[in-house]
């Protein structure tokens, strides 16, 4: 009998970095894998846990509050950076949202001036202009995937979500490819008109909470990339009935498109 295929998801700092329903993304990855007959193992990785290389197929990190984010950044850089860099170099898939996205870059300077060093895996920098609520980027956001992106070519090219961040992220390299171009909302910063990043097998975005449930094409791409890396074979995922997913996706587009 063929052994059941299995994915291991590493949820980084699930207690501290889970604000605004980020857990929805873990739920989506788990369910969509299970519906296709894959087994899923979820490892919660906190400050006290050691990280070993070659175990995690998909890393996930959500957003957090400023103070928690500072503590988490410290632990990552001191205790987990090397393993993470090695796994990413080896093709591990990463979904990093909000605080997690900012962390992939060089640094994050918070509204009150405190600076948190990042992992320096992606050439981006993030600066928050102030701690004022009025200066946060808050609202529904709709973007369009890059036309070159294979996910876009398969049919649906839009992404929908909700952003709520104080930091403005800037690309430090012309070669860096954003995840999407902003149609509605702010995105990385007011001037750039782009949102998030695709870099190797890394997905970074400010779309928090149920990003993957409402964008099943991204969820499936993440599962596919992880499977192909793990089993060293081209993978064609079984098609699911995503009527409910796309209805929720399209409802956002219909309600908030200009």
């Amino acid at each position: 009998m063929k052994e059941k295929m299995m994915l291991t998801i590493g949820h980084l700092y699930p207690e501290k970095m889970n604000i605004y329903g980020d857990i929805g993304n873990i739920i989506a990855l788990k369910k969509r894998s299970e519906w296709r007959g894959f087994a899923v193992n979820i490892l919660n990785i906190s400050e006290k846990n050691m990280l070993k290389p070659g175990i995690i197929d998909i890393y996930f990190m959500g957003g957090g509050q400023d103070q928690d984010q500072i503590e988490v950044y410290k632990d990552l850089i001191q205790n987990k950076k090397k393993v993470l860099q090695r796994d990413i170099k080896d093709g591990a898939v990463v979904l990093a949202i909000c605080g997690g996205y900012q962390l992939l870059g060089e640094y994050f300077t918070m509204g009150d001036g405190r600076r948190a060093e990042g992992l320096r895996i992606v050439p981006i920098e993030t600066i928050a202009p102030s701690t004022k609520v009025a200066q946060r980027c808050i609202g529904n956001i709709i973007t369009n995937l890059q036309p070159t992106d294979e996910i876009a070519r398969s049919g649906k090219s839009t992404l929908v979500g909700f952003e709520n961040h104080s930091g403005r992220t800037r690309f430090k390299s012309d070669k860096l490819i954003p995840l999407g171009d902003v149609l509605v909302g702010t995105g990385d910063n007011e001037n750039a008109k782009h949102e998030g990043v695709r870099f190797k097998n890394i997905f970074g975005t400010y779309m928090h909470g149920p990003f993957l449930p409402k964008n099943p094409h991204i969820a499936d791409e993440i599962i596919k990339l992880a499977m192909e890396r793990k089993y060293k074979n081209k993978v064609k995922l079984k098609k699911l009935d995503d009527t409910i997913e796309w209805n929720a996706h399209n409802a956002v587009i219909n309600k908030f498109s200009k």
Partner: protein, 443 residues
Amino acid sequence: MKKLITILSVWFSKTLSVLIRLTGKGGGTTLPGYLLEQKFPYLFEYLLEKIPKKIVITGTNGKTTTQTLIVNILRNSGFNVISNISGANLSRGILTLLLDKANLFGKLNYDYGIFEVEEGTFPRIADKLDASIVVVTNLFRDQLDVYGEIDKTKKYITDGIKKTPHAKVILNLNDPKVFQIGEEISNEKYYFGLDEKFLNEFAYEGKYLVENIDQIIKKKLIATDIKLKKDLSTAFKVVSSKRTFTIKRFSAPGFYNVYNSLASILTCSLEGVKTDVIVRSIEGFCPAFGRGEGGEISVGKRRINFKLLLIKNPAGFSITVKMLTRVRAKNIMIIINDNTADGKDVSWLWDAKIEQFNYYLPENIMISGSRAEDMLLRLKYAFDNFNAVKTRVKLKKDVEKALTEAMNVAKPGETLYILPTYTAMLEVRRFLEKKTKLKKFWK
């Protein structure tokens, strides 16, 4: 001059409120205050000065119920009480109320002002309110898209309390974030909480920074032997170092309302109200504005019971789902709107433990509201096997149509549990007011 302007403002406000109600555009509970607040900033203080004692209730959940309980107890002890009862808890709402209740000479003749104050508003008006007691109910994740972060909400409340150093402060002993507020202030402190057996019902945030709280905290009121009944009402014992008494039936639904009753009991005990008046008031309580109010409705020849259970954040939603599975609820309607008062971000649906429905799956689930599609998606990922039970779930965006159908599906004598967000609750109430004898909320 200030006196004259106050009198004129009172007249203006009263006239405007009447006009708003006549046109049927709402309760007129905030607009007059909004218009006058910036023009005459001293109005607030000037009007409040005439009320000898003020009590403030703040925190993310349970403000309205706690406030209503306090008002009832104080009124039953013969005091003349004013309160902002319609959930109008920003400064403009409170000002509108004061203007409305002042007599034509701009005077307020009351013994107590009981105000529920929105967390972010509290530090801005704390010195004007000059409360003698401040109650902090809890700090759950709530309206995060308004303030960004829960620690910010905590700081707002702490700052507000620091502006009234003479106020006695009543705090939730079981909520680590609220307990931390107590550590940062020098006010006289009192605590309320549940027996530890019931604490797994709640998903509090954060951790305690001190140990042996049980021994350190002496001034506390604890509920034990709590029983949840079929109709969601509770019975429990109240224990303090001085005395013990029993509440035989408290009709506000679920364990979380026991907290609200404790906060009100503690507040009124500090004000010297006798225990028998307190017990009588708690047992005679009718749930406030959407917080578990219920009734009967005729659908054709059948009679259906309904219960309105406001949901507004993950903690409240999780607790409500757990409670419904405990009483084996058969008919459920969930309405999710994304207006400003609901929170524009519906991500919180994913933090709510909807998976608890798998313990007892309702037979009929109706989904409605401006973000109905998001709720349906959440259910798909929450159920162990959505495909096997998807015929139980219906989606109708229009609230009135959805309500009508949900009531048609329920069997005679059964209860339809309606879980709306804030503005959805207003829609449901408007519909039910037409069909039943539900009171208009601003009365």
